[in-house]
Subunit: 231 residues, 8 copies
């Protein structure tokens, strides 16, 4: 049966098909998987990959069904179960390095989203785990490695003390990703969000709760500019 | 002119005159100065001191006018301008030691309220300042001193990372006092409050925002029990 | 299929393997079961028990499946269905006593979490139920028993009046655990949380909503120090 | 100079001139003083008194200037400095009795507003002070007196435990007035408000924060019906 | 297998077994069904009915399974599917009448909870539906009937304008029950709650969102006193 | 078995049967499907259609089951799967045109609810998609088409910048519908709601989050009046 | 002394000098007086009046000093002390009529801002006061007058029941302006805001709290289109 | 008179004297003027300038009195009345350029704080004003200039649509500063804060409300790295 009034033509079911944007900004094309069917995800990745054969394209927030569909229908796709991600195509040589730092395993899904985004956006992710503020010696041991990066992304839930401590140790541009990880009443990550935006250390930047993708895009922009392409 | 209906007898204008309580709990008597006139503060301190001549009594949150009245009318009173406090009488020998730890000068008024309360409640305050998480080496240098205390009170505003870092360094019972200190949108201290109650370190206890008095009473109770009176 | 980028080595899937910490602080090792698979819970308990054969280790917030796996695979484990807990190993002789006080049966799961944590952290829990403020005579009948403890944990939901009433009756260090128990609009426990942090009685300490584990760790620290090990 | 467009006729500057309402409901006429000039308050009281010569009329939330103007210009007015109230005329014989109960002196201004409203609405207020939950024996001593009233108004700030304790002690219709009294972060009385609306005791009714007037009107309605006019 | 530590004796799994309370206050005994198993509900109703054979006892917030169990195992029980209620025993002759007023069908479950509670607490409920403010003529047509009641309970969701309009029409003690009924962003009933507590009409009392039971208990207390038992 | 007390006659299970209203206002009759059974939806649509044979009637927020029941039992019904809508009857000739504008596909269900409501309320919806602020050229290309409408409804989630940009481009009465669409912490649409109510452009009107129906009713009222019926 | 870095040229100190906008939309030019000096207000009004000699220009939210400066320096200005407004120039013949409806005197400043904005935007304001829901007969008496308008603006504080009642009485496009007027805890107008956006009546539109200007602009746009200019 | 207990040595009254930090990170030294006396501000600036004679030092959030004291006592100081800033010393040659973009004059104080911070941190601020989204042509005219910068800071109040629009136009790293500017209920800038953190454009970074200093530090870090020091 027909629908009650005419439906405008829609862009294949994925949000933003803007082929000039990637060229202009150097960011990768991304499919937000939340709320999409497996078929929509596969179709969107295939179309974006065809439009950008020399770059990598990314899909985030995938359901188990969507990941299974990607595995079955997209030869060469790389999947990350924990991060709920799929990558199609090769990102090419990386410019700059982004340290992705977190305290523990609970924040790992967001860490993976940051790292994959950094990679498809043309920079190199360097993941540093197990450096929570409750065990300072482990963080101090990684200080020089982090300070040598071109940008830092600090992923932190609960009270989110890590970005403040980090910002006192290194002088690199620093983006905090508050996460909704916690064991009590934390208002779905509001605690971590408020914490990183009230850091006692100057220059801590923030994205929304759990928004690893947004942090990865921004960090890669910074890192690519800090390390221009080799001649 | 008479008031429109009979007024019940009131307890001299101060909140709780319960002479048995101090004996029973070991806590000191306190006058909350907020909203009281200078005459009410002076009268309350004088009456409590007369009821407890062998102990110290405390007044908190005093206006400048109330402090001036105490100075003029209460011989032997000790005043703290920064902490807005007055103490009358001697607390006697202290049992146990409470480390009162803070990052910087902005939290100093609350630090003073904690320390004075600890003292009048019969324990020894040991104030450790300038140990914010943005300069970890200074905090690490004081670790042994803090770990040797019978209780720790960590006063912290902004994102309140200090209690979490401290709780990873020492095994002493730890009370966090979130403060309303901050330079941006922090919802009058809610940020710090949420942070300390979501600490990634186990066993961090909390009182209300800026409630140095409450933290001091509780810390002294813990410290006195940890260090029983000498025979 | 390989994951898209190298994964750092992870600490066996449980949050904090810090074998020195237990020795230093006297706290027990704990596995937070929320979000973990049955296999992860079993593996973590087994590894921690091997590292600390002379102490008890605890797992909290377990799913029914995780409890079943513990029963099947961990000989000697003790389980608490209501509290969703598992304990492996013996805590050794207890130092000090912690009164765990609550009004009714709805708060019982949190009461169990407090009591088990106190026990594995080396102190003795003494559970006192059915003492809600709506039936004061029952609370008054238990006053001396509570006052003789080394620390008190008051578990309270809804309007959380119990900690305030208790703090007026006894002089023992008192920790309130607000719970998310309620029958109307209470903002997931915010009501109880705000109540305990605004208690009219001095010295009431608090942890996060439903955080029985945190309260148990802190209470055991206080009780152990108040009652040093026998010679 | 004229205003830019015609102004409709306004009712003398006070909110509700509805001469039938008092007759119909038995409530008194009231002038809300907040935001009114001294002249407006005096004019409104005088007009209402002229319309109801055989009843009392009330003005609440008066500024010091408005109280001074009432004293100077309204012969026979009765003023309450603490409650910021003025009463003109006689309320006539009272029907029923309303117990107005509170913990301490900080809530006294609201207590006065309740009591005066009860009186002008034709019932007898019976103020019971110093019965906070931190000193239960004093509350228990007044139990029979409160239980014999026709309605109870419990005024309580901070964590507002008093209404719950009271509701477990007496079977009288009970109205709680949460107040904005507190010494920490209590969100301008939201804490007390949430507490009374989440009371573990059945049948606790509530009005808005500090709304002594509303509670007094409702309590008097209940009390007058419970004690019909003598023949 | 035994539980890890001794469990105190519990009151049969239901919240408050206080056989004196009903006698003292005239309120009925109630079983809150939320979170209880069918067996617990049946057991609690049976025990309370045995303790009070000459009164009615009530169970609220029942699951479909619990209602089925009541039907199968409790001869003579009366069930209300829409209100999720069960009543066992007879309430005896009613004293006073309570008008229970609502706009539409969406609020009907709460209306039923109010009415059943009023009935088991010994007063007569008089339900008046379809009187929303969007159709004023229907409300005006019921004015005299409502005004003749001994108490009014106004059940209202969404913007909850009904209590304010009612309070301007009748002089009866009025209790508003805000409900969580709505079609947009209303913060789970906060909108209605704030509305009834900010009514422009004096004397509107409130209970928590959806708390029909609390409103019913309070209304019956008021109505019973307004209409003393016949000689 | 009978229910415990008499049930008043109810209006067939749907909210508002007010046959004069449609005639008076020109709005259509609507069945809110949320919380209704398939049989209730079908019955309500059939009854309203019988009462208004010459107009269209609408049902919104339908479950999949309710849509299936409409398809099976209501000949001639038009269904919209994405918008979860059903329309029965013909709306007659349209007066005026309402531009319904949105950025992308995620807001499409709300767009459909707006459009269908406009249509059944007697105006013509003109849907303009893919005009998000991140691709300004597409919005600018549609400026004249939007400016020529009689009213504009802008549907926008996330940060809801579209209404502000639109209001700077066209002078038509503009209604914003904030939606709960977003990928991070946005408080269920509060972000979009606050944004549209704080627009820097004058005259932006708003309805509740996701309330496409409300916006459609209001827009059609405006458009019908701007384009009076032909003679 | 020079400022530390060059300052870009600024548009004379007032927010938006966009001479085409008024011609395009028919809205008037407005100076928001909040935060501006008297000299800035006078200068802005004079410049806008010079640019639009055949229209009226408006200034809102004026301080007493700014109003005095307007009176002294702008011949022909019309001032409204209560609404804190100034109007310069003549609005020309009005098209359409906007009913501006409110309950009482407390909302009068916002009513004035609505009415003046409507007038300078080219429509006729028709102010209807004293029609609060607590006195329904007065509102019903004005029903026909309101229903005959081309748009309605309902100004309402406290629980804001008026817009819902009005929307059930008339079929005119209706804009609600929630106000921050209230006597208790209403969160600076959030109560009224939530209420109008959750109206049980379909099609109620809203602006921000106290935003009489925004409502006036939108209402005039609607009214002008409903009543096209005479030939 | 002496204070009641010994006071630890304090760092001259200003928050952070960490002479190595500037060398390590390249950030400038800053004095937060909020809450400091004029003498403290002057003393802090003088001491920091002496410690860093070859760099510029900054003071922010100065009172009028503090600015006057700087003018009188610090030769060579540069003051910005609107931004409430003081700069002492020369920042040396700039590396990189930061576009500081805002809609209008109300955000100018924050714009000034961003620009001055960028300058003292060693980069070049390029201020672009009058480019609000309500006048898109002005923003589009500046697109190439902004796109050529090394970093962008977008300052935006009210609904904060500017950062989203900008992020769709340029590929430069972008930091949004939400401001507390607004004319209605916007929760002290929460509206703008939520908006920028929910931007539909990827990669928008944020600092706290009105935190121009934090944005400036971060932007300069990014810009300096993008444009390495000349050989």
């Amino acid at each position: 049966m027909a629908e009650p009034y005419p439906t405008p033509i829609i862009d294949l079911g994925f949000a933003r098909l803007d082929v000039q944007r990637a060229t202009r900004t150097g960011d990768a094309e991304v499919v937000f998987g939340a709320g999409k069917t497996p078929a929509q995800v596969v179709g969107a990745l295939r179309a974006l990959h065809a439009a950008h054969p020399d770059r990598a394209v990314l899909a985030t927030r995938l359901s188990a069904e969507a990941m299974e569909a990607c595995r079955a229908e997209l030869p060469g796709v790389r999947l990350d179960e924990l991060g709920r991600l799929a990558v199609l195509g090769s990102p090419g040589p990386a410019r700059g390095r982004v340290a992705v730092v977190a305290a523990g395993t609970a924040d790992l899904p967001v860490v993976r989203e940051v790292a994959a985004t950094v990679e498809v956006c043309g920079s190199e992710p360097d993941v540093v785990l197990d450096v929570g503020v409750a065990g300072l010696h482990r963080l101090l041991a990684e200080r020089d490695r982090i300070d040598a990066a071109d940008a830092v992304v600090a992923v932190a839930g609960m009270e989110a003390a890590l970005p403040s401590v980090l910002a006192g140790l290194v002088g690199v541009p620093l983006i905090a990703v508050p996460t909704s990880v916690g064991y009590g009443w934390h208002m779905e990550g509001l605690t971590a969000w408020l914490a990183v935006l009230n850091s006692c250390a100057a220059g801590v930047l923030s994205v929304n709760v759990d928004n690893g993708f947004g942090a990865g895009v921004a960090a890669a922009r910074i890192a690519r500019r800090a390390a221009p392409r080799e001649p």
